[in-house]
Symmetry: C2
Subunit: 235 residues, 2 copies
């Protein structure tokens, strides 16, 4: 069933990179002078909690497509006051917003992607914008065939257009493409568009033991990490 | 003047890859059985001659945006009968259309791009579509930060939108981006959008001695090839 797969599309935040510890680290580095006592992981969680509502404004058509960097900045300004941060200089805010460009991959990601790339076309199909994806790729030595996803499609996952635009960019039918994610909701939406799906366990995405370890929807492949996925797809 | 440059955008056909000999080689390989006597380089030239008229249908708004693979196929079907090719099987036509995905870089390109990538973000800003650019990158070991250009912009060079969309994708101002091309017309259009420009000599693009060796418009940098460009920009 997966033998016709030619391209792998990857979710990025949570699936490939550990956004929680990375955002907490960057926030502490840049905001420590302004408040010593904040729980930086809670700050990361709060910022991330604004992620879906921010994108929903675009998905619903209430606002035109805006890159994730723009939504992140808007969300940041909503979250800062709740943690007692006020009057942060513009230069610090701009730098802090780039926290999402400076996330580290889970330990299997660089080697696993390199292995998968020997057999498949590989691209991120993330809601992150192109510049953000390019920075994460440089930082983590990820070699993509192209950066696909929200900015290329002009909409946000889980809207079907995002998955289908990625297939079209590689001139492939949906059944020749496999979405790889640690989130069942992403895989469910991809499968509804005709893509194959692979679930990756990221048990610590939201803190120790608080990520998805198994899919809650039917998928084609279940893998522990990218190296395990490579073993299952390539052998 | 070029010290603020953060990203280099590359024209591809002619500037990075030798389309003429590659298309001639592929045409000969696939069509030889159908006609022994054709001048394969003339066939490549004739196919390429349809390139600008095909894109002009999109640029003018006469037809909606179509990927270059689609335009190439349309152009191919116009050119084949002139060379006496009729009733070519569909599978051969489809394979022949991929000739543009199988072009070889000029000798300096792989090493030169790798060197430039150490200092700058690098992306193709070509009229070629994403799948085509991805195939050329694999074949020639080109490591891009992202694939930008016509398909991402939804229009064809030299329309300003293509250059400006590339700058925006990298979150850079036009003055922080430099267009690199062997064609003065491309550089003139990029400069009109505020980008910096570098001319690369490709004296043999259209056959021995029939390419641009020097720019016919003002540019910021004149280079013999990508290694020379790296020496001039990075030192």
């Amino acid at each position: 069933m997966t033998q016709s797969v030619r391209a792998l599309f990857f979710d990025v935040f949570g699936t490939l990179v550990d956004w929680r510890s990375g955002v907490a680290r960057e926030a502490e580095r840049l905001l420590r002078a302004h408040d010593q006592s904040t729980d930086w992981l809670a700050f990361a969680d709060a910022w991330r909690a604004q992620y879906q509502p921010g994108m929903e404004d675009v998905r619903s058509g209430r606002i035109p497509f805006s890159r994730l960097d723009v939504l992140h900045r808007h969300n940041l300004e909503r979250v800062l006051p709740r943690f007692g941060f006020r009057n942060i200089p513009e230069a610090v805010l701009a730098e802090l917003n780039l926290a999402w460009h400076r996330l580290d991959g889970w330990p299997d990601v660089t080697a696993g992607l390199a292995r998968l790339r020997e057999t498949f076309r590989v691209a991120p199909v993330s809601n992150g914008n192109i510049a953000l994806m390019a920075d994460l790729a440089r930082r983590n030595d990820l070699r993509w065939d192209a950066i696909l996803g929200a900015e290329v499609a002009g909409d946000y996952k889980p809207k079907p257009r995002v998955y289908l635009a990625a297939c079209e960019a590689f001139a492939l039918a949906p059944g020749q493409c496999m979405m790889v994610a640690a989130h069942s909701s992403d895989l469910e939406a991809a499968a509804a568009c005709g893509l194959r799906t692979a679930h990756i366990a990221r048990p610590d995405e939201h803190g120790p033991g608080k990520g998805e370890t198994v899919p809650t929807v039917p998928v084609d492949v279940v893998a522990k990490d990218l190296l395990d996925l490579a073993a299952k797809l390539v052998g």
